[in-house]
Symmetry: C2
Subunit: 770 residues, 2 copies
């Protein structure tokens, strides 16, 4: 079936089939943990070119940051996600030779990921040193219904021999070291050794502890079957499952194992020790098998697609690519309210497993509109680190409010280069923006009162303390924000970055908005947080007087106070191999030029569509497009959305196609380090904010589709104001269907559309490109 095929990621279809890249592409995760699609026989051996392992979201270790010159207030510690033992690891013993000691030749025959259910099937051909050949097939899935569970089934058959084969399944110690002199700041900079000890248990169980962050995790695996040949034994003092097989060509042997990972700190909290956890886990595995566990997970996955799928007709590759992005977004997002979305999901050690603004500005819209419970969990994580953010503000000399860390796992700032780290104070306003969007779209007033308002007020307070009123020139009596870095990291420590100021203004405005709302609905809440009339006025005044730099000559929004008098970097004549520029130029070189790593001022045009008319947007777009390298994976999606708004379908389509397939085609050349989660969120933005032209404005939900001629059909669902609405766009018409909830009016452009029941409402389009 055509549709089914578009849920499949076949190895043959990939542009880059190198081991480290396919490990990322086929990584399985569930927000809590992720497993890279390693070569199962080679584990962590030295000659293995891949980077196998398991990552648990938020399970990190600390190590001191060494600075060339350390200054006051610099972060003390790196926070680095731990690379845990690869649960796919398997040992074969044939003719007295063990595959972990004398490497067998392993060829990948096929891989296929079925995104509809989350099942990964991989086939390898194995050749022993004595030329015995076998086929090994792995079927694996990360459970979506039990976040602590990963299941792998090995199928083995002899190809050219009959004879004895021993299958050994044990934990795979991790003992890699990544040198910290790495030249690419986007990659993991270090690897911290882990404490790893075996626990007495009926299945091989390891207690893994970090050295400095004092986190612990219990990792156990259990044989899911009843074959009496399978035995738990001890080999070299290492507990393992062992089965001795008599293979003949054509005969298939099959064994499944379930992995369970339990956070020790969580266990301690409920005063239950490791023994209790081990016992409980074994009980959970009791009478389970691969099929039952899989079905539970696959059902969960199908529910995800039910709400979050996007269907495109007219381009099967794209359809597959979009699903791939949605699938990975779902795999990446923490769902437990104490973790966020690492920039690389749980698919690799890139960016050290840190959380950035990527979550709020690129990924949250997808979750807010299709999986609001996850959006809520992610924002609740931000709430949970308010204390650390308050402390961070104090360290930065700000006596009121909070400053969220630019990059973090545990809530503390982990950026070791503040000009492209802590100076990106816009993170505060980004979090406030997303909080507001969540509340607007979901109408979750509980969240507003118990979490959201405190976050919005605390971030607003930061701006009042951090900014000041200007004394001279255009800035006179305007609220200015100096010495910050905007989203564009090729420009640093500037005054009045447009995006930052506009976002800070929004932060102040929404603080006022909710303060006034709560003054009526829940005045105690205001008192609890010490918000008084005077402060509300101060918020309002600063917002009203916010300085937004504008170039009167060029009639464009100015990126910052410095930009007009900097020379333009000659992107067009720069050799291709010099991109990304940050790997080929000293920061001081880039900072001196007008050159953007990514959308910066345009991010503001993107987020606030009613700030400017179309001619203004066109000018901004033309100006900034010329100076943008898109060296950041966060750039093209925004350009795609804006190209739609200026009715340039060709650009919109081209930018979108680059971003939609970024990891599948290894566009940035570094998918090996993990997926580009923000860009995957960007794909959703491009489609829904861009091509479907969706916007949650003051009046309500509006659609203004710009349908590319390449497609026949685009359909998706969104949740809004406790409804679920299906939108289906074709060349000549758009169909809205109210799937869940009470009647609601939405908008097609300025035209009000009444959705009263589940009957589709069809609007015939006139203005769409054909």
């Amino acid at each position: 079936m055509a549709i089914d095929d578009q849920y499949q990621i076949h190895l043959q279809k990939l542009t880059n089939k190198e081991q480290p890249v396919t490990e990322t592409i086929y990584a399985l995760g569930n927000g809590h943990m992720g497993v890279r699609a390693s070569n199962p026989l080679q584990g962590n051996s030295d000659h293995y070119e891949g980077n196998p392992g398991l990552f648990v979201n938020g399970f990190y270790d600390l190590s001191p940051i060494t600075y060339g010159e350390r200054y006051f207030g610099y972060p003390r510690n790196n926070q680095t996600i731990a690379q845990l033992p690869d649960p796919r690891f398997l040992i074969l013993e044939i003719d007295g030779v063990r595959s972990d000691q004398t490497p067998f030749r392993v060829e990948t025959i096929d891989k296929n990921l079925d995104m509809e259910t989350g099942l990964l099937v991989e086939t390898f051909r194995i050749t022993t040193p004595k030329q015995k050949m076998l086929t090994l097939t792995l079927q694996s899935f990360m459970s979506q219904s039990d976040y602590h569970l990963y299941v792998v089934r090995y199928e083995i058959r002899a190809l050219n021999f009959s004879g004895k084969v021993t299958l050994l399944k044990q934990h795979n110690y991790v003992n890699q070291s990544i040198p910290n002199s790495n030249e690419d700041v986007r990659r993991a900079q270090r690897h911290n050794p882990l404490g790893q000890v075996y626990m007495p248990a009926d299945s091989p169980t390891m207690l893994i502890e970090t050295q400095k962050s004092q986190l612990g995790i219990l990792m156990m695996f259990h044989y899911l079957g009843s074959d009496p040949r399978m035995k738990m034994v001890s080999r070299n003092n290492i507990p393992c499952y062992e089965v001795q097989l008599d293979l003949t060509p054509g005969k298939l042997e099959q064994f499944a194992f379930g992995y369970s990972l339990g956070n020790i700190h969580a266990l301690m909290t409920v005063e239950m020790g490791p023994d209790f956890y081990i016992k409980k886990t074994l009980e959970r595995f009791h009478e389970q098998n691969f099929a039952k566990l899989f079905e539970a997970s696959a059902n969960h996955m199908r529910h995800f697609w039910q709400d979050s799928d996007i269907v495109i007709d007219g381009d099967p590759t794209l359809q597959r690519g979009i699903r791939f992005n949605l699938f990975h977004l779902y795999q990446a997002a923490g769902r437990d309210s104490v973790t966020d979305v690492p920039a690389k999901g749980v698919t690799g050690p890139g960016y050290e497993g840190h959380y950035f603004w990527d979550t709020e500005m690129y990924m949250l819209p997808f979750f807010i509109y299709t999986q609001p419970e996850i959006a809520k969990a992610l924002l609740t994580y931000r709430f949970s680190i308010l204390d650390e953010a308050r402390q961070h503000a104090r360290e930065m000399g700000i006596e009121n409010g909070v400053l969220y860390p630019w990059r973090t796992i545990n809530g503390e700032e982990a950026s070791a280069y503040y000009p492209a780290g802590t100076a990106q104070v816009h993170i505060n306003a980004d979090i406030a923006y997303a909080t507001d969007l969540y509340i607007q779209v979901t109408q979750d007033m509980d969240f507003l009162e118990n979490y959201g308002f405190e976050m919005i007020v605390s971030t607003a307070r930061f701006w009042l303390a951090f900014g000041n009123y200007g004394e001279q020139g255009k800035q006179k009596n305007k609220f200015v924000i100096n010495a910050v870095t905007g989203p564009d990291e090729y420009t640093a420590l500037v005054d009045n970055n447009y995006y930052t100021n506009r976002m800070a203004q929004n932060n102040l405005f929404i603080a006022v908005k909710y303060a006034k709302q709560l003054q009526k609905e829940n005045p105690t809440k205001l008192a609890d947080l010490g918000v008084n009339e005077e402060e509300i006025v101060a918020f309002q005044t600063a917002a009203n007087k916010m300085y937004l730099p504008y170039d009167d000559d060029l009639q464009i929004k100015m990126q910052d106070d410095s930009s007009p008098n900097r020379p333009v970097f000659d992107i067009a004549n720069e050799p291709r191999e010099n991109f990304p520029l940050l790997l080929h130029y000293h920061p001081l070189v880039l900072y001196r030029y007008r050159v953007n790593k990514q959308a910066d001022t345009l991010m503001s045009d993107f987020l606030f569509p009613f700030d400017q008319d179309e001619p203004q947007l066109q000018r901004d777009y033309d100006y900034y497009e010329k100076i943008t390298t898109h060296d950041s994976s966060l750039s093209r999606a925004i350009f795609s959305v804006l190209a739609n708004r200026i009715h340039n379908p060709e650009k919109a389509y081209n930018y979108f196609m680059d971003t939609a397939l970024m990891d599948l085609t290894d566009l940035q050349g570094n998918s090996a380090d993990g997926i580009h989660a923000a860009n995957m969120g960007g794909t959703w933005l491009s489609l829904i904010y861009g091509f479907a032209g969706m916007h949650a404005g003051i009046n309500g939900l509006t659609f203004d589709p710009q349908f590319p001629s390449e497609w026949l059909f685009l359909s998706f669902k969104v949740k809004y104001h406790k409804r679920q609405i299906k939108v289906a766009i074709q060349r000549q018409e758009v169909t809205f269907t109210l799937l869940v909830g009470k009647p609601i009016n939405i908008f097609y452009r300025e035209q009000e559309v009444e959705l009263v029941n589940s009957t589709p409402v069809i609007i015939h389009l006139t203005g769409l490109q054909v």
Copy 2:
């Protein structure tokens, strides 16, 4: 005698008598090497609170710089001056107990430095574990006539016992390690282990080699005497001199040793190995003794004072303090054309032995006017690193010209924090300024043609490539210089730092000036350097169009484009313990405020006195004084000079008195790490540029004295246009005497003063403060 006493630095007169501070104060040096005034019995032992050692200017090792995040073009290596074995080290053995194994109690009874000759005399009282007491007196000097020679004489006498004492003299291995997690960037950040092996020789000789920079030095010492009891022996396989003494109270024993240090690379060049050097050195020591060696050095020292002394009557403490500064300046400056002046001289490991702009802007005027040969040697060092500076410019994306490193020993950039390092590109213009000053004052046309012009042109070319013409606002069609850091390190990465732009303008102007001069005198030189008419025009145009920010409202020179709209830091209400601010605030905090670490824009007013009239200077002064913390030791001297120019004698005097005695009073609290050499140069500037009002203008040498009421008499000598002129200022008159050279006209204010022969010319003053 009163005058003689003012050449003495008595221990009793010091404010801070702690061991690490007195080690610096009494450090002896000769530009090539320096020895800290350690406790001689305790050497490098663990419980020793001091920081003993010998430093050889330019003898450094490399170690990799570790960055939290490394970016393209960052310097790879630290360059750290090596801390060599302390040559004062001595072992006493009494009752079978050795002072290096079981520490003896050592009390400092007295120290006195005779600056006139350079002789340091120190007396210690030593108490053994068995309560035997001795007096140990060290007489030592660093030879000024033989740069490789240091001499120390030990005098020992028993106080309360008669008995045997063994005196052992051996090399003192260095095995210290300074942790690199240091919180104060001004201190040495690390200590690299040295290779140390004994060489076969007739005196104890050690070959000391660095690990990575591949430098080597031979260090030997020789007994300077003929006492037959003195024997060279081997103890624990360590060669040493040993003498067994029978002490009785009142009986004095005396032994002198000469140390010689030879650079191995220099030896290799002339194809003479270590053996040859050892032989030559021993020959040199032959028939030498303490007195002869001392006399040669003391004579040299007396010559120094002849040309460089400043006499002040009315304040003996100040007189002593000024001599102390001049003495240390002389000790600090490399004289071999391949070394510069380390920021801490050769008195300590602070700032890792690096050379900064301190040399050119604070110390060179003293040398240019009183020791021009040393000035020439120092500028020749800068010439010798032109290739590295060219390479550095390329790394910073500049295709033409050179960029001098902000801090260096070997010519490569060693700054690990570019916002307060490489971004201080004004270093280029500073070096050009000093080169021009040297040529103006000395009329050394050979230097201009062979060294100076290339330096001036190469630095001027940098500005053309680094800056650009502005497109908007006040900067439109003006030459702008963006994203730089000026002298004030509390403000970083700004556009159009006034000082930088003004200095770059000067750099371009003098490039044009000398290009035009050489067009007539030596056109080949221009061709050699590829200087053509077009380039000269480009220099001239950029200089003419240089943007110099000015605040029209406040009518002051603006520090940079950003400053007017930043809030003023409340210095007055900041707790005293929070200074220096850089140790108590994150850079992002300081950068957001109007607060200066040191004179920045005022440095321009200081260097270019004819740029502004007195009312303008007054406004600039008042404005910047309010926002300056003087956290840098480079600040107060400039304020003192300018206070004289605005006829504020009280401020001029107070700032001067703070700076004149900075190290003697440990004003900054970190003299332990080494002297503040730039501030010592600043003392000379305060006196000569400030109180004497000297300026080398276009017309010639001008004096405009502002004589403080506290003094009776100020006199000094300067060399100018191949003359030497003595200037003596009293309350009512100033006397000029032509000591050397042909007749010359100088100026008292606008009044021309003819000096035709050695007859003093007395000018009666009317306008001076009394």
